[in-house]
Amino acid sequence: MRAVIAEDSVLLRIGLVKVLEMAGFEVVAETGDAEGLLAAVEEHRPELALVDVRMPPGFTDEGVRTALMIRQESPGTAVLLLSQYVEERYAADLLATQTRAGVGYLLKQRVADVEEFIDAVRRVAAGGTALDPQVVAQLLLRRGGGSDPLGRLTPREREVLALMAEGRSNAGIAAELVVSESAVAKHINSIFAKLDLPPADGDHRRVLAVLRFLDGTP
C-alpha cells in the first residue's frame, strides 16, 4: 500500500516514514506543506495520506482544510490527521464528509505507542475510522444526559459506542471490555435500536451510529 506524509517537522517526518514502513506501507512522497500534499495525492493517488494539522504557511488548520479537499477530490485516499490538540470541531468537519475511504484523527503523541499507532493506520487505510480516545471521551462527557437520544444509552452501551467511534472491531471491543464477542454484538444492536438506525443499512450503520454520536449528522 502506498502512503504520503505531510509533516513540516523534519525530525518527526523521518520517524513517521520509519513507522509506516514498519506497518508495511510504501511511502511514495513526503512533503512539508499543504500544496505539496495536494500535488502528491494528485500524482500518486495513494491509499493513505498522513497529515499534520498545523503546517506552513499559516501554521493554523491547513491540514484539516487540505484533508477536506482530499476527501472531496480523491475519495479513494484515506486520511489520517495528526494534531497536537484534539478539537472536536475539526473531527466533526472531517467526519461529516462521507466517502468509502477511511478517516482518522489522532493526537500526535499517539505515534509514540508504535504498535497501537500502526494498528490505527492499518484500520484507516482499510476504510475504517480511528478517533483519538480523547475526542471520544470529550464527546461522551458532553453528550451524557439530556434529551439527546444518546442519553438513552446505558453506560456500558456508551462504552461500546465510544470504542466503535475509535474504530475498533467487535473483537477489539470485546477484548478491551473483557466480555464475549456476542455480548458486544448484543450491545451494538441495542445501540442501533435506540438511535433509530434500521437494520436495512447493514454494515453502514456502524459509521452512522458513530456519526450521530459525534455531531447530530445523519
Partner: protein, 425 residues
Amino acid sequence: MAIRGGAPRRTYTWITAHAPWSAWAWRNTTFTAAAIPAALPVLLGLTATVMAPGPGTIPPLLILLIGPLLTRLQRSRFRTLLGLDVPEVEREGSRFTPFAVARRLRSEATWRQYGYHLLVSPLAAVAGGLVVLAWAFGTAATCVYGWIWILPADTRTPGWTDDYDTVTVGGVLLLLAAPWLAALFARLDSVAAAALLGPNRARELERRVEDLAESRAGVLDAADLERRRIERDLHDGAQQRLVALAMNLGIARATLTDLPPEAKAVIDEAHREAKEAIEELNNLVRGLHPAVLEDRGLDAALSGVAARAPFPVELTVDIEQRPGATVEAVAYFVVSEALANVAKHARAERCRVHVVRAPAPDGSARGADLLRITVTDDGVGGADPARGTGLVGLRKRVGSVDGTIMIESPLGGPTVITVELPCGL
C-alpha cells in the same frame, strides 16, 4: 541659646528678604512693570477703537493677527522675570495652511489666550503703572527734606515741618508697601496667565486618560502577541522534538525485542517519561493561547474548553461579528478559569455557558458592543471573590480590558458569574 536666638533671627531674615531693596522686591517690580510694554500694542489698539469707531476695527484685527506673538511674549515675560513656566498649548499640524488657521480660530485655547491679551494684559499694565508710581512717589516723599534744602529759604511756609513730617512718613510707608503691591499684582497675573495662556486642565486630563487607555490596549495586545509567539515556538520546537523522541523510543521498544531485560526496562522508562513530558507541555501550551481560538474564534475554542470539563457543559455562543483578538483571549480565559473553578470548588452536576454579543447600553461612553459571558452552575454556591484566588485572577483579567464582572453565589447555589467585555478594544 541657639533655640532662643532662632525666632528673632528668622524675623530679621524675613524682613530683609521682603525689604524694598531685596531681590524679591525688585523681581516682582520688574515683572509688574514689564507688563506695560507688553500691553502697549493692545492698549494702543483699544484706544484707537474708542477714539475713532469707524476705521477703529482695524487695530483689533491686528491684535487678532499678532495674538500668537503676544502669547509668546507674555510667556517669555513670565519665564525670564518670574521663573514661571506657563505650559504651552500643543498645536497639531502645520501652522499656516488655511485649514490649520481655521482650526486654531475655533479652538477654545485660542480664545482663552485672546481673553488674557484683551482683558488681563491691560489691567496688568495699569497695575504695573501703579507700582511704578508707588515707587516714584514713595521715593520722592521720603526725600522731601532733601528737596526742601534746595529751595530758597523764603519760599517755605510757616509750619512746614509738621506737614513734611507727615509726607516723609507717608513716603516711607509707600516705599515699604510698593514691593508687596508688586508681589500681589504679580501673583494675580500669574494665576490669570496659568488659567488663560496655558492648556485647559480638564482637557489635558482627558487627553491623558485617552493616551493611557491607548497605551494600555497596546500593552495588552503586545502581551497577547507574545503569548502567541511563545505558543508557536513551543509548538514548532520543543513539542515536535519530544514527540519525535517518544516515537523513536517507541520504535526502539517495538523493534529491539531481543534486548536484555535491564535495557528494555530503561527504554520503557524513557518512553513513559517522554510521553508524560509531552502531556505536560501540551497542557502548558494550551493555557498560553489555543491555536483554534485564532483559527475558528470563540465558538470552536470554547467548545473545546467545555468538552474538557469533567461535567456536562451546555454551551451557546451567539456572536455574529468576532470581537478583537485581545477580547477573545480574555473571554477564553474567563470561561476556562470559571469552569476550572467550578470543577474545583462547586461540586456541580452540570454547568451552562452563554456567550452573546449585545449592543452597548445607552449612555455608554465607548458606544462599543458588549460581549456578555454568563457561567451558571448548579453547585453548592458560596463563592467569595474576596478569598478565591481564581476569582481574583478572573477579576484582574476582566479589569484589564475595562470589563465588569458580577458574581452571585448564595450558599447552597446556584452560582452565576456574569462578565461583560467591551468589544471595541
